[in-house]
């Protein structure tokens, strides 16, 4: 098997794949959701579907921060950036995500001051270095990233840096999982739990999924062996009729999470009553806003934000793909109008987006299959 030769511990990978075949009941169809976009990328890159039996279907979840951000939030952020005194700073992942009037990169080409930073701390550094400008950090990410933003705001306040603010788009993973479980067109058997989000929140926040929803969940690492072992653990639970939270990624994820990170988040942020997710709609208490004590560093308080709501391009079916109702290639625009070079939806921009992952790996493989056997 080509797959097995390329990775570390090939004998363990082969054994895990064999165990999956042994455990999977051939009369059953399994729908397992990997919540995290990093896992989606890994699954496509490693060609994991090739080693799984056909009746195990992996559904790609909402855990790609740029993918779930509604276009209106980008427009809101860019509206602030029209002010020549504002430096708009964001992670590289954001730069090519389309807004109504173009991506941040295209705004840059039109003369707006748009900068890539690799850390929120560097956005603060920009503010210190440019005292006559205002630096707005466009913050995105789940609980992996939110503590770093929180600590940066605490540092800005402690140092009295007043020409710095955060446009907060941080979201939280648990309400999204709840929304997916509540969705009537979603029937899932179990979850592959996010890896690095769990370094912050730990494993306890998933317990309701096991106890109330009776779905197994295994917190998982990012190697092929991690993913296959997690699938083995899920299948064992399903076979035994159990539902519990297990931690396959113990080498990195402590059961209790990172309390200092949670404290920093709790100090700076509070839950929004609701937030819009692309594809999933409005989800209550699913995102973070800055507490009133930090209003001076809250871009939504300091600037007049238009609060733009944009419906996605009609032909694009990002929402259905995000919910796992459609596979990426089933969208009418996939690979035609919408490609990684000319993305229409955010799922095609980020390497963690299922459309980009599908395009970069599966689509090319399929193209090769079509070339080799044109009648198939």
């Amino acid at each position: 098997m080509r797959f097995v030769d390329e990775f570390r511990q090939p004998e363990l990978i082969a054994r895990a794949a064999e165990e999956i075949r042994r455990l999977a009941d051939p009369t059953r169809h399994y729908r397992l959701m990997e919540v995290c976009g990093g896992h989606t990328h890994a699954i496509y890159r490693f060609g994991l579907k090739d080693v799984l039996p056909d009746n195990i279907e992996l559904i790609h979840g909402p855990g790609c921060p740029v993918c779930v951000l509604p276009m209106g939030r980008i427009d809101d952020g860019m509206s602030v950036a029209q002010d020549p005194n504002v430096i708009f700073a964001a992670f590289g992942d954001m730069m090519r995500v389309p807004g109504t009037h173009g991506s941040p990169l295209e705004h840059k080409a039109r003369g707006r001051d748009v900068r890539i930073v690799y850390s929120p701390a560097d956005a603060l550094k920009l503010a210190r270095a440019n005292p006559d400008k205002h630096v707005m950090f466009f913050a995105i990410g789940f609980e992996t990233t939110a503590p770093s933003t929180a600590l940066t705001v605490l540092r800005a306040k402690a140092e009295g840096v007043r020409n710095f603010s955060v446009f907060c788009n941080h979201v939280t993973i648990i309400p999204a999982i709840r929304a997916i479980l509540d969705s009537p067109d979603m029937r899932l058997d179990a979850f592959i739990g996010p890896g690095h989000v769990s370094t912050v929140i730990g494993c306890r926040p998933y317990e309701w999924i096991a106890q109330n929803e009776h779905k197994p969940i295994v917190v998982c690492g990012f190697e092929p062996l991690d993913l296959l072992q997690s699938i083995v653990m899920l299948l064992r639970q399903l076979k035994a009729g159990e539902a519990k939270v297990e931690n396959q990624y113990k080498r990195v994820v402590p059961w209790e999470g990172n309390r200092a990170a949670l404290r920093a988040m709790g100090e700076v942020f509070q839950l929004r009553s609701f937030f819009e997710w692309r594809g999933l709609g409005f989800i209550s208490q699913s995102a973070l806003r800055m507490r009133d004590e930090f209003s001076e560093w809250d871009a939504e308080q300091r600037f007049s934000i238009p609060g733009i709501r944009v419906t996605d391009p009609k032909a694009a079916q990002c929402g259905e793909v995000l919910k796992g109702v459609l596979k990426p290639h089933q969208c009418k625009l996939f690979g035609r109008e919408c490609t990684p070079e000319h993305p229409i939806g955010a799922l095609m921009v980020s390497s963690e987006g299922s459309c980009a992952a599908y395009f970069n790996y599966e689509h090319r493989k399929q193209a090769m299959v079509n070339i080799l056997s044109p009648t198939a």
């Binding site: 890159r45 890539i116 701390a121």
Partner: protein
Amino acid sequence: MCLAIPGKIIEISSDNPDTALIDVVGVRRKVDLGLLQDDRPVAGDWVLIHVGFAMSKISEQDAAEQMETLRMLGESEAAVQEVRGYGLDEPSNRPWDGRNRVEDLE
């Protein structure tokens, strides 16, 4: 953007215990240790770094495995590029390979 980068702590700043010099496959930059204040690392420890902040302490073996994971995912160069970018340092000039980096803006 959720991938964590393994690095070794070379030195903790004497005037700020929340700042450390770390080494990621030969690239040395400053990162923030503020999220590890309950379990402070010391020089020589290995940590996972995310957006310029150390997120968790890990063993040397786990660090080596994490770097290998990044390599397998095709993300090891991006990880080093990210670390190079910490502190707003200028990136190297390389053609765009589909990832978003600072040079896209130049």
